[in-house]
Amino acid sequence: MTLLEAERISVDLGGRTVVNQVSLRAAAGQLLALIGPNGAGKTTLLAALAGLRRFRGSVRWQGRPLATLGRRERARVLAYLPQGHIAHWPLTVRRLVELGRLPHLAPWRTPVAADRLAVEEAMQRTDIAELAERPFDTLSGGERARVMLARVLAVEAPLVLADEPVAALDPYHQLRVMELLRDYADSGAALVVVLHDLTLAARFCDELLLLREGALVARGPADEVLSAVHLAEAYRVTALRGEHEDQRYVLPWRRLAAEESGEV
């Protein structure tokens, strides 16, 4: 069942087209990776899908234009993890994760058992239960990233858009978070995740979308998208590849000189 359907999305920023005619669809149970070099338009595309940028084209949620959903309804359907892990006040971890329940709370009502359960579960899954009473400003970068992910999971939305959820994490927690995102998708949700690690994208995601200069260069399973030609064109690198335990890995190895990359 297709949950999210985006058609020919374009975003202009400061007179420049940053995202150009990108279409994608995400079905229940799918984990999609949005990959591409810096400045390719991944973050802008994700924010447009979340309804946070003006765009041309259409975004549909289960066939309905996303813009026709009410603000709160949309917030229950779609959870968005921005880059940067911002908390302007040093709230405790638990209080921050609780903010994920805001779309579910009626005005003036306090959280009910279901809300608390969602918060506890989100903290367990992201390995931050023991940090619950710590103020945010005392946490390491990796801990902050997991807190923000827990905040997004606490929404319990069927569609999650996450911008670089593993960027600040150590290898252990990168794997842990990817497993968690995979599980979340397997439970029936659709996820679109911006990733820089090509191996993680190849191993855990159903489909990869490669962006370059705002346009979709390739879309499909990892084998096709991470071809030598694509890597050279989009990333200007060559990569080592291999297989281990029936899974592919791709390891960027060497930069291409400027004249090589254009016409490989």
Partner: protein, 337 residues
């Protein structure tokens, strides 16, 4: 785990109870103490209008002063907490940012152009307009340049302009009372206000309180930044409008009757954070109570300290508040960014 949350909530309730007890104590002190020693019985007789002379003292002098202390203090504390939440900056405050001064300017202009004689509502409405203009322009400036320095400089510009224009208006006024009026609008006082002042300010303040208190959830979400807040279903435009108009109503009405009183809105939320944490929504109501306590305590100080002339309330709050502000600035070099 839920026990931890409960402990948190219980601590919040305890703080509110302590503040309510303090406020009640200060209310009683405000009613019982004065240049003319009155017994509790005489105070009560005066309040219910049993004796004409006692009623004059209680209903014309002491009661309005205490009630205004509550209302103005609560308005300032609440606006300070809400502005800090909206601008995500612990240095935001209606006094420092020039909102109070702009409201004072509105009031002075209403007097200068004779509008105040046309209708009793003219003065509070003009004060409110001044506060609205100041808060809205600050919100625009602070959104464009979100760091502390930018905000403080914008506030400095707004308040300097308002003070200069207020001084100009009073300077040019032919009225010999202008000088004492100037002192009031620039420094603020609860002295010689009547129950009619209370009645004039109350509806505006109440409307402002409702707007500010109901902004809690949105301000909480804003902790995560504007995009995350929007993704959580918060309408940023309406949240901004709510806090700006709420602040304008509360501070505008407060300034219209008591002049500009600074720093209460800065200090109140800061005093509470060690106990209640930093969540903006949870600080709103306690900050209102703390503001009332602070203002009534300062007013009691003004009344009881024997000086040749009664101190202006705004002077006392500034004497306490300005060093506090400086302390925050110095500490902020490390923590505010």
């Amino acid at each position: 785990m839920s026990r931890v949350v409960d402990a948190d909530v219980r601590r919040g309730r305890r703080v509110i109870v302590v503040l309510a007890v303090l406020a009640t104590g200060l209310t009683l002190a405000g009613l019982l103490l004065g240049p003319l020693p009155l017994s509790p019985w005489q105070v009560l007789t005066g309040l219910i209008g049993g004796d004409e002379r006692l009623a004059l003292i209680m209903l014309e002098i002491r009661l309005p002063r205490v009630v205004l202390g509550w209302m103005v203090g609560a308005s300032l504390g609440l606006s300070g907490a809400a502005l800090q939440g909206l601008l995500r900056n612990p240095l935001a405050e209606p006094g420092i940012l020039g909102v109070s001064a702009s409201a004072g300017l509105g009031a002075v202009l209403a007097l200068y152009f004779g509008l105040a004689q046309v209708s009793a509502w003219a003065l509070p409405l003009c004060a409110l307009g001044g506060a609205l203009l100041a808060t809205a322009s600050l919100a625009v400036l602070a959104t464009r340049d979100p760091n502390s320095l930018g905000l403080i400089l914008a506030g400095l510009a707004v308040s300097s302009l308002a003070v200069a224009l207020t001084s100009l208006a009073l300077n040019l006024a032919p009225n010999p009372l202008a000088l004492s009026e100037m002192v009031l609008w620039l420094l603020g006082s609860l002295r010689d206000r009547g129950l009619n002042d209370v009645a004039l300010a109350a509806p505006f303040m109440a409307a402002g309180w409702v707007l500010l208190l109901s902004a809690g959830r949105g301000l909480d979400a804003l902790t995560l930044g504007e995009e995350a807040a929007r993704s959580l279903g918060i309408g940023l435009g309406s949240l901004r409008a709510q806090v700006i108009s709420g602040t304008a109503l509360a501070v505008g009405a407060a300034t219209a009757v008591t002049g500009a009183i600074g720093f209460v809105g800065l200090i109140a939320p800061h005093l509470l954070r060690p106990w209640l944490g930093h969540q903006p929504g949870r600080l709103l109501l306690p900050s209102a109570l703390a503001g009332a306590v602070l203002l009534m305590a300062a007013d009691l100080l003004v009344r009881l300290v024997p000086t040749r002339q009664e101190l202006m309330l705004g002077v006392v709050t500034a004497l306490i508040g300005a060093p506090f502000f400086l302390h925050l600035l110095l500490r902020g070099r490390r923590t505010l960014s």
